[in-house]
Amino acid sequence: MRSRTHEAVLPYILLLPAFLLLVGMLYPFCLGLYYSLTSYYLQYPHLFRFVGLGNYLALAKEPLFAYSLKFTLGYAAIGVIVQVGLGLGVALLLHSRIVGRGVLRAMMLMPLMMPPVITALMWKIMMASTKSGILNHLLSFLGLGPINWLGSVDSAMVSILIIDTWGNLPFVALILLGGLQSLPYEPYEAALVDGASGWNVFRFITLPLLKPFIVLAATFRVMDALRIFDVIYATTVGGPADATMNLHMRAFFFAFQWYQMGMGMAYAMVLLALVFLASYFLMGYWKRAAEQTTT
């Protein structure tokens, strides 16, 4: 009897230290949620008062809100398509019999473990707008450029996407490579017997079987793309002319440039809701895809 109650309590005791830290994380979160309902100017504490949904209403009227929302969603959508598409290509390449596959695979890990800020700074050097930038120099051989990569409204988002893709393409590629290596042989043997073409094998066997892996990689990429901050902060800081202003950057500006903590938190909560919705749908989609392929 004694040992049974012991058994029942044990997991909670084991969880206690982590639980204390969890409370330490939830407390600031709840505090932040409350701040989003207040007018909180860090420099003018006497103006602090509860305003209900006032910040959210004010935010909805802000012209930059619509833009940053659009940018956040658009960036995530374009980013995930580009990165999963290219990642699939790289995975297929690494899966085929090529010389030095192991070396290539190890090399792909290097960008993956770089701090995103440092990645951004490296590319910032290469993307120098003048003719001293190496990318512009290389383009000049093709008779193109010079491009004002990070400095112009038209190319800033693409430049950020390039940097982000350099850092995260290996992530997608390695997940899909793992997927390719785990696929069963039987369907391929059957296809060989039937004399199916290479494209048909890819389209009707590889792609459906790989679906759970593709969805998982896409899920992680969408969540990270919605929240992208480091790369933008280190390169354009939301500029030029707010062209790369996403919700995350906007929240940061409100809180730490203008010290309007309430508005900053309201923006943060909108972003959180977006991430939550995306994760809810994508995770469900992933589960269904995983079940489909196993049955």
Partner: protein, 292 residues
């Protein structure tokens, strides 16, 4: 028919090979070139950095490295950021502290989540996981206000606590996935032999998952090393890690490109070395144990 087919299939084969080789070459250049260019930039004099067209051949200098490590005054290009060694040390202290705390709290928690059944088990596990996906700003704003109030702003302990948002969910999910790989029979055999839960944990589970724990610690350290957002606002000049330190080379008046390149390379050195040891587990770590 066969004779007509042979040359075309040969041509096809060779164009296929050529395309694959080209793709491989492109991939290698795409991946390696930024490293090569940053190394070159870090060895350049300020005037060589901004030379147009960019110089491939130049007189290399170690000035940038000397500047970031010793802060030597060298004419107008003197380093205005002589505290890079300090940033490096800060990164080590904060990352080690964050990983140690997460590990101590995470081992028992992930063992409970892997092996025991109790109410709200999955919701608790997913609550931890959700921190992996929450935008950092939702925590950063209240933490900034709180830390200033209670004196944790610009302290190692404050940063180590804030980093738990990164390392604790990771540690718990990663260790859980390793613990779950240990066959239940091993544990049951130990139970029959009269081992208490403590005996099972220390004499069976922990020794068997030693490699997994090593991987978790190393990856946790690397993820903390990469952290940028939290220290950006919660640290001050005395506690900046290398990630925040590296952007200090950009100031209103000028960008010290060469020094920034040198600092960037030095600050990713631990990452590049450590990733050699955990190669096989990086994807597993990045997906919180979802992919093995």
């Amino acid at each position: 028919m066969a004779t007509a087919c042979a040359p075309t299939s040969l041509v096809r084969k060779w164009t296929g090979r050529l395309l694959v080789s080209l793709a491989v070459l492109l991939l290698v250049v795409w991946t390696a070139f930024p490293f090569f260019w940053i190394l070159l930039t870090s060895l350049k004099q300020p005037l060589d950095v901004i030379a147009a067209p960019p110089k491939l051949v130049f007189e290399p200098t170690t000035d940038n490295y000397l500047a970031i490590f010793i802060g030597q005054k060298r004419g107008q290009y003197s380093s205005t950021r002589p505290d890079f060694p300090r940033f490096f040390l800060n990164s080590i202290v904060i990352s080690c502290g964050a990983v140690a705390l997460s590990f101590l709290a995470g081992v028992p928690a992930s063992y409970a989540l892997a092996r025991h059944s109790f109410r709200f088990k999955e919701p608790i596990a997913f609550l931890f996981l959700s921190f992996r996906f929450a935008p950092f700003i939702t925590f950063l704003i209240p933490l900034y206000i709180l830390f200033q109030r209670v004196g944790l702003y610009n302290t190692y302990s404050g940063l180590i606590l804030a980093y738990q948002l990164i390392t604790l969910p990771f540690t718990i999910w990663m260790l859980r996935s390793f613990f779950m790989e240990i066959p239940l029979e091993v544990e049951e055999a130990a139970k029959i032999d009269g081992c208490s839960w403590w005996g099972i944990l220390t004499k069976v589970i922990l020794p068997l998952s030693l490699p997994g724990m090593a991987v978790t610690v190393i990856l946790g350290f690397m993820f903390s090393w990469n952290a940028f957002n939290y220290p950006l606002m919660l640290a001050g000049r005395q506690t900046f890690p290398v990630t925040v330190g590296a952007i200090q080379f950009i100031s209103y008046e000028q960008v010290l490109w060469g020094q920034m390149a040198a600092a960037s390379l030095v600050s990713v050195l631990p990452q590049l070395i450590l990733s050699l040891f955990v190669q096989k587990y990086i994807v597993r770590g990045l997906t919180m144990g979802a992919i093995k």
